[in-house]
């Protein structure tokens, strides 16, 4: 390796100019702040906010039958059961967003006893038994169901967000999706490519 060092040293004056050039350039860039302030996929985000963003993204990738909306400008309704931080994060994320002409509105729910019309339902609390009971009440309505809790897809839920190492991933219950298809709920096939497909019996 000695030859490498020697070689390196001989070219040093030019290298020094180059390095100082780089330094000056980076300082200028920093000071002017001319770089666009754009989201970068590599920047870390708090987990709850990331989940909320994923829930928003799934909502934009779903389609509901026209009958499920009272009017063309009627909002897409996201119901959240339990856990305030997630509900607040979803509110924060969808604030001011629209899908076509439709605004997105978050509705907090205690349980499905007070369920009105809904397009997306997020279970932020519960166990497999609770999910089964609540999902049974939902029947075959065209509602996209989501949760970040274990046991959700096994109980018949559609999409479960889960931590996969340092990132988020999701399981998708293909059986539950097929059951909702006749009622008119459609999901962009991109979702199926990116998630882990489960049959609804494992987790």
């Amino acid at each position: 390796m000695a030859f490498l060092t020697l070689h390196f040293s001989r070219r040093w004056p030019r290298l020094r100019r180059l390095l100082f050039g780089c330094l000056a350039l980076s300082a200028t860039l920093l000071l002017c702040g001319i770089l666009e302030d754009r989201a970068s996929a590599g920047e870390p985000a708090p987990e709850t906010r990331l989940k909320a963003a994923l829930i928003y993204r799934f909502t934009t990738l779903a389609e509901w039958p026209a009958e499920s909306f009272p009017s063309p400008e009627a909002p897409v309704l996201i119901g959240v059961i339990g856990r305030e931080p997630l509900e607040e994060a979803i509110r924060g994320v969808v604030d001011g967003k629209r899908i076509g002409a439709r605004p997105i509105v978050v509705v907090a729910k205690k349980d499905l006893a007070d369920v009105g019309p809904l397009h997306v339902l997020v279970f932020a609390e519960g166990t497999k038994e609770v999910f089964e009971e609540q999902l049974a009440r939902l029947g075959d309505k065209p509602v996209l169901t989501l949760s970040d809790l274990p046991g959700f897809t096994a109980a018949g839920g559609m999409i479960r967000l889960r931590r996969d190492g340092p990132r988020m991933n999701f399981d998708i219950n293909i059986r539950a999706l097929r059951q909702a298809e006749p009622a008119g709920l459609k999901l962009n096939p991109q979702i199926l490519k990116l998630g882990r497909i489960v049959e609804g019996d494992d987790d």
Partner: protein
């Protein structure tokens, strides 16, 4: 699913203690702290589904926000900092913490300290890795050359300047360094990393992790390093090339609401060319030997935590750590076992109480290889300790008082009581002012008590006209602990989401500092030599002022600028001075009076990262090392498909520069550090 996913369901203040305990011992510091709002500049809604799945999740305790409210000088070096700085060892990464003195001694050895007393054998810094003390009782310090680590699996390094003594144990005098590894839940997938350069000739790392089920994850990992020699000041080879290998595993199990368990084991070996000058009684009175310095070490560590309710957690940690060091001057066999129990609970809304007890037992053996030996050659030392701490919220969200004490028993010494009081005041959410008073003790090391070392021989005609004179240092079993009272204060200001300031000042009042005193020369008839005995004593005291200031600014979401400055002002003196005493110089003149760093990080379009770090270290007068500026730089490309390429340059301003001189060679630097370049490719899948 990881428990983090569920964490937000509990009130924050109950989640964080458990999390912090899990991540390290800063828990008692961080307790009761509410994490900052989950702001962050990125608009995630603009990302596609595929992009969202690529965004890494931040861990609440990893953000700097909770630290804003700690009553102490705490700095966290994140994984991102380690990676972007191009750091290749734990010691090197510690350069990123303002106020740390980190000097590369030669190819693989480092001298690391804070606020003075720096040495390859520095003895006032406690270094922990996941709660395990990286420590040899021989000199109460860390063999940095043996701490090979798979750096991508380090989650963060917490650095506390000043004594953390009320919770941590022996050696937490000037500072505490706690290395926190990633959980196996955060290292699923495979990482293959390979690189080479002119100094770190080659490094190959591999790690593979997977999720066995919802609550169980594991990883296995291995790394091989080959390191080139450093240079001598005259341009030759320093003969300190080395290689190292490590392999290990980690298993994490979690039942999020109830219990957590972690098991980590590792084996490592290092082999380095070592040279030493061994004195001898006959002409030519010294002999240079070149040998291989080998170490073989391993550990197994288990940690179990049980959450009894939303507000109380019990944790139990135990480990075994073994090391075999084969060195031309002194070899070492060491086995350490430690078990610790901690309980944290909240009393009402205003108090968080924690208590713990710890027992460490070390068995050592120092086979005689030459001029240095220990008497007794082997020993078993026990170190029981306990702590109590209460964190009292005097005014909600504004004023927090933390009182604590640690008691530590050492054989042959009276138990050391080490109390501390800390007060944090938050006049607004963005400002923290803190002040603390703490007492700390450093118990004598095995060498200071029991070693006998032949330091050097004066040939006939130098000390005595006819006879050789030998300098023999002998330990003193009755040596006392060194004592410190530290008064510290600091302020933090989060001026905006993108701008923050941090300043701290430390006033360390020392007493009973260890010195080396000459005894009365005598004639040894057996060997026909004059013996100049030396022995340690507790004869130095004084005050050391130090301070550090830092600013972090992100002018745009893709750029970050960090600047820091630290100052060191020692005023030590010997109780009774005598001509030629080097004690004060050795203690403080190997520490720079001023250090500064300017670090710019840029994310350029096309997934290119660019970092430059300019650092200044003032002169070390004891070693006649002049002040220097150095520049490190890194450029990284993310090529997609999990591929990443990085080019790292270090010490770019000079072809060589000296950073440290070891006291055993009279202080002059034996090795100088060469400019280096390193290229690395990383593949994650």
């Amino acid at each position: 699913m990881s428990p983090r996913t569920r964490a937000p369901r509990k009130p924050r203040h109950t989640v964080l203690p458990a999390k912090a305990l899990l991540s390290g011992l800063v828990a008692p510091f961080l307790g009761g702290v509410v994490s900052a709002a989950e702001s962050g500049g990125t608009d995630l809604t603009r990302l596609t589904l595929a992009e969202l799945l690529e965004v890494p999740v931040t861990v609440v305790s990893r953000t700097s926000s909770p630290l804003n409210q700690v009553a102490g000088a705490v700095h966290v070096i994140t994984q991102d900092d380690i990676r972007r700085s191009g750091s290749q060892s734990l010691a090197e990464a510690l350069r990123l913490a303002p106020g740390m003195e980190v000097a590369q001694v030669n190819s693989a050895n480092w001298a690391v300290a804070s606020a003075g007393f720096n040495d390859t054998y520095a003895n006032k810094l406690l270094v922990l890795r996941d709660g395990r003390s990286l420590y040899t009782p021989l000199f109460s310090g860390t063999y940095w050359n043996q701490q090979t680590t798979l750096l991508p699996d380090v989650e963060k390094i917490e650095v506390v300047l000043g004594p953390g003594a009320s919770v941590w144990g022996a050696n937490a005098v000037n500072g505490v360094v706690n290395v926190v590894s990633k959980s196996a839940f955060d290292t699923t997938g495979t990482l293959v990393q390979a690189g080479g350069g002119n100094e770190l000739l080659g490094r190959a790392s591999v790690r593979s992790g997977s999720l066995i089920n919802e609550n169980l994850a594991f990883r296995v990992y291995a790394q091989q390093d080959v390191q080139d020699d450093s240079a001598t000041p005259s341009g030759g080879r320093s003969h300190d090339a080395s290689e190292s290998t490590l392999g290990g595993f980690r298993l994490d199990w979690r039942n999020p609401d109830e219990a957590e368990f972690m098991l980590n084991g590792e084996l490592s070996r290092t082999a380095a060319e070592a040279s030493a000058v061994l004195p001898q009684f006959t002409s030519p009175y010294s002999q240079s030997v070149r040998a291989t310095d080998r170490s073989f070490s391993g550990f197994i560590l288990g940690r179990w935590q049980r959450h009894f309710s939303q507000t109380s957690t019990l944790s139990l940690e135990a480990y075994y750590d073994g090391a075999r060091v084969d060195h031309p001057v002194l070899s070492e066999k060491r086995d350490t076992g430690e078990i610790g129990l901690q309980y944290v609970t909240e009393i009402g809304d205003t108090q968080r109480f924690s208590a713990g007890a710890n027992y460490r037992i070390t068995s050592d053996d120092y086979p005689t290889t030459g001029a240095t030996f220990l008497n007794p050659q082997s020993a078993v030392r026990q170190l029981p300790s306990a702590f109590l701490q209460d964190e009292i919220t005097l005014v909600a969200d504004q004023l927090v008082l933390t009182l604590g004490t640690k008691i530590e028993g050492v054989e042959g010494n009276q138990a050391e009581l080490q109390p501390s009081a800390r007060l944090a005041w938050l006049p607004t959410k963005a400002v923290t002012l803190w002040v603390s008073v703490a007492r700390a003790a450093r118990t004598p090391s095995r060498a200071e008590q029991n070693a006998s070392a032949l330091f050097g021989v004066y040939p006939p005609g130098t000390f005595d006209p006819a006879l050789p004179a030998v300098v023999i240092a002998t330990g003193d079993p009755n040596l006392k602990s060194e004592h410190l009272v530290a008064i510290e204060t600091g302020a933090r200001w989060q001026a905006s989401d993108t701008l923050s300031f941090d300043v701290a000042g430390h006033s360390h009042l020392y007493d009973n500092l260890r010195t080396i005193s000459p005894g009365t020369p005598y004639f040894d008839q057996v060997n026909s030599i004059i013996v100049l005995p030396q022995s340690p004593a507790n004869l130095m005291h004084g005050v050391i002022w130090s301070g550090e200031a830092g600013v972090q600014w992100s002018p745009t979401a893709r750029s970050r600028l960090r600047a820091s400055y630290s100052i060191f002002q020692p005023h030590l003196e010997r109780d009774q001075d005598f001509a030629g005493s080097q004690d004060v110089a050795i203690a403080v003149d190997r520490s720079p009076r001023h250090q500064a760093m300017l670090w710019g990080s840029l994310d350029l379009p096309g997934s290119v990262e660019f970092d430059t770090r300019l650092r200044y270290v003032s002169a070390l007068t004891y070693s006649s090392i002049p002040a220097y500026w150095e520049l490190d730089a890194r450029i990284g490309w993310k090529l997609g498909n999990g591929l990443e390429f990085a080019l790292i340059g270090k010490g770019l301003l000079h072809s060589t520069h000296a950073e440290f001189g070891d006291s055993q060679y009279g202080g002059s630097p034996v090795s100088v550090i060469e400019r280096s370049v390193f290229g690395q490719i990383t593949w994650r899948f």
